[in-house]
């Protein structure tokens, strides 16, 4: 079955698998002082260096978490949103950012029809709250459309207004070059299982870790910012996958050709279909395809029956499919019900893409005909 849902999770890379197998065969608790413990600690510090190198950061800036959601939550924890300060977040952020604040959501920064953050709107919002402690949260690449956000410009504007910036780079890592120092963000979230590592590990990279407030307490791990016995195998796998990011980036031109092949076919044969974010800079692996008037869930079910794993929106809400808040912010509520996401990876072949187009074409024919059958 062709797997075209890499933005939900990616298959584990062999190098990550090998690192995990080695870690799982070890006994020590990384906090133990004996040789077994020190060996386990060594694996964690090796992974920390690999993740730091991949992200263009210093190892001391890397805080391992249980994943991207927790990294986002840690970045936003105790930020004085609702306590005299405020959080501004793009309207297309992941739920773990939009729902991170216990009291009410953040103020939403609008995006353009192409799904790119509206920098002029951000500047107005920053100016309106001059003097109020502000955190701006903007993702590096969107999980549903793949649209790359102008984070460096966001940082420039935000810092000029004294605001800090958190960047969710979960979907961007391994798909575009990542340089924490050059980007200038104050914090950056990463997830292992989106880059060929395992689920259950992630990291928050923080310019000044001491400014963070822990979500969980009770233990000295991760400089007290994330106590609890470390997910040793997960972190080892994360490190190994991070070390392979340069190889992953080398495959981007091929993956972009696959995407263009699919999108060209769709646009040629089905001019009514919409490729959301097509005019914006995008990740090479993501196509968000809208088919007016046809529910995304129906499309996904037919494609699943035809043997293709794609998704309707994000995979995070335990099987429920809600209208996409991302597409709603770009193109309105009606479009938000009709878009599916096709996301490819290093293993995807052009034969799979051609087969997918055939299946999509058959699905389209079936679903666009169905309403008139029902009416008759």
């Amino acid at each position: 079955m062709p797997y075209l849902d890499h933005n939900a999770t990616s298959p584990i890379r062999p190098a990550a698998m090998a690192a995990m197998a080695e870690a799982l065969a070890r006994t020590g608790n990384p906090s133990s002082a004996h040789a077994a413990g020190r060996a386990a600690r060594g694996l964690i510090e090796q992974a920390r260096r690999a993740v730091a190198t991949a992200a263009g950061a210093d190892p001391a800036q890397v805080i391992f978490t249980s994943g991207g959601s927790e990294a986002n939550a840690l970045a936003l924890n105790r930020h004085p949103g609702g306590r005299g300060g405020r959080v501004l977040a793009s309207a297309i952020e992941h739920a773990s950012v939009l729902e991170a604040l216990p009291q009410g959501g953040p103020a939403l920064i609008p995006v353009t029809g192409d799904g790119v953050l509206d920098l002029a709107a951000l500047e107005r919002m920053l100016a309106e709250g001059e003097g109020v402690e502000t955190l701006v949260a903007v993702m590096l690449a969107n999980n549903e459309t793949g649209v790359i956000q102008p984070v460096a410009e966001v940082v420039r504007l935000a810092h000029a207004h004294g605001a800090r910036v958190h960047c969710d780079a979960v979907q961007a890592a391994g798909r575009i070059a990542l340089d924490f120092a050059a980007l200038g963000a104050d914090t950056l979230a990463l997830s292992a299982h989106k880059i060929g590592g395992p689920a259950g590990a992630g990291a928050l990279i923080a310019r000044e870790p001491a400014t963070l407030a822990p979500l969980v307490r009770g233990g000295g791990q991760e400089r007290r910012l994330r106590p609890g016995t470390e997910n040793l195998a997960g972190i080892a796998g994360f490190g190994a996958a991070a070390a392979e990011i340069p190889d992953a980036l080398a495959t981007v031109p091929r993956i972009a050709r696959l995407r263009d092949r699919l999108e060209d076919a769709i646009r040629t044969h089905a001019p009514e279909a919409v490729i959301h974010g097509r005019a914006a800079p995008r990740l090479a692996n993501t196509s968000c395809i809208g088919l007016g008037g046809v529910e995304a869930m129906e499309q996904v079910i037919l494609l699943d029956l035809a043997g293709f794993a794609v998704s309707a929106g994000a995979a995070c809400s335990s099987g429920t499919v809600r209208a996409s808040h991302v597409i709603a912010a770009m193109a309105g509520e009606r479009a938000a019900h009709t878009a599916i996401r096709v996301s490819t990876g290093r293993e995807t072949t052009s034969a799979e893409i051609d087969a997918f187009f055939e299946a999509w074409w058959a699905m389209r024919a079936q679903l666009l005909v169905l309403p008139s059958v029902a009416a008759a």
């Binding site: 070890r26 133990s32 939550a73 307490r217 195998a233 699943d304 099987g319």
Partner: protein, 414 residues
Amino acid sequence: MTAPSPTRVAYPASDPPHAVYLDYQATTPVDPRVLDAMLPWFSTCFGNPHSTQHGFGRQAAAAVAAARAEVAAAIGADPREIVFTSGATEANNLAIKGAARFLRDVAGSPRDTIVMPASEHKCVLESGRALESEGLRRVVLPVAANGIVDRGAARAAIDGRTALVSVMAVNNEIGVIQPVAEIAAFAHAAGALVHSDAAQALGRIPLDVNDLGVDMMSLSAHKAYGPKGIGALYLRRRPRARVQPLFSGGGQERGARSGTLPAALCVGFGRAAAIAAGERAEETARIQSLRDSFLESMRARIPDLRLNGDAQARAASNLSLAFPGAPALAVLEGLADVALSTGSACASDTVEPSHVLRALGLDDALASATLRVSFGRFTTAEEVDFAARRLADAVAAVRVDESPAVQAAHVVVG
């Protein structure tokens, strides 16, 4: 299909080849049966368990559901009562902070007090301290010299102001088993919720949420031959125990804990929990006899050693031994081939004496002369003999070095 007997399971191959591992309360090796169950969920079956729109995701979701059922069955719970977390530290934080915040902020309860014994794990004590900084009251119960919580103090402290009582099942440093069911009965009579940190208890003592009468219970996989990075919080459905999440976002785990579930870790935890529950009786009998022979052998060599914590109400896996006049760090320096611990691994960033040993009334000298020896599934009689001999020699050597005559000689030489 019969599971292989635990004594015949090969010790994981790439472990430090020369050291005898007697630190099973810091972490346990992953049981090879657990590893076998996990590996396919890392590799060929890699789907996101929340992507139920396609086969990859549904396959992972089914594996997570089966694992949830195994964890639930191991503690007499319903699968819907299990919330997977990244481990026991997170589960303890979620239970204590989450329940107290829910009562205060959502239920509007006037109950403002959290009660916990002084010997709880740091993450329980610090969760309570975090609530203090939010304006709630934390009452820390004294424990007796044997490490068991003072029932009279508990009865006196738990009242109509009490929102939550948290009592661990098995202590991580001294192995003492607390009377959770009794404390739960006091607490429920006063209308309070009950949480138990059972991270050290799974597979070591009988563990049934209904027998114990708890509303919430924290579990850890890696203390029971499962992988690190996964644990669970049991949340009773009837009557309903509710928590505010520590963080939000995808809404997984019925809204209590967001984030993509690591299917492989869940599967490993499920298998580990099933083995722990199924083999506990036989395994603890075997481990207890090894432990008792170790203690006997140590007593014969070092007659003045002290056993910290109650000798009877104690997990079969644990010894906490004080060797007067032999600082533990000095003993460990001469003991590279036996892996032991001075206390809990989680507190290793500090050199303060253990808060647990202090709660028992040990002075700093005795507390810092204490070693935890913990035995487990792969411990052999040969290892026990070897370790007892080596430890006794190391203690004796340190005592010579620390004796007044040798100290005086050092002064002269220096």
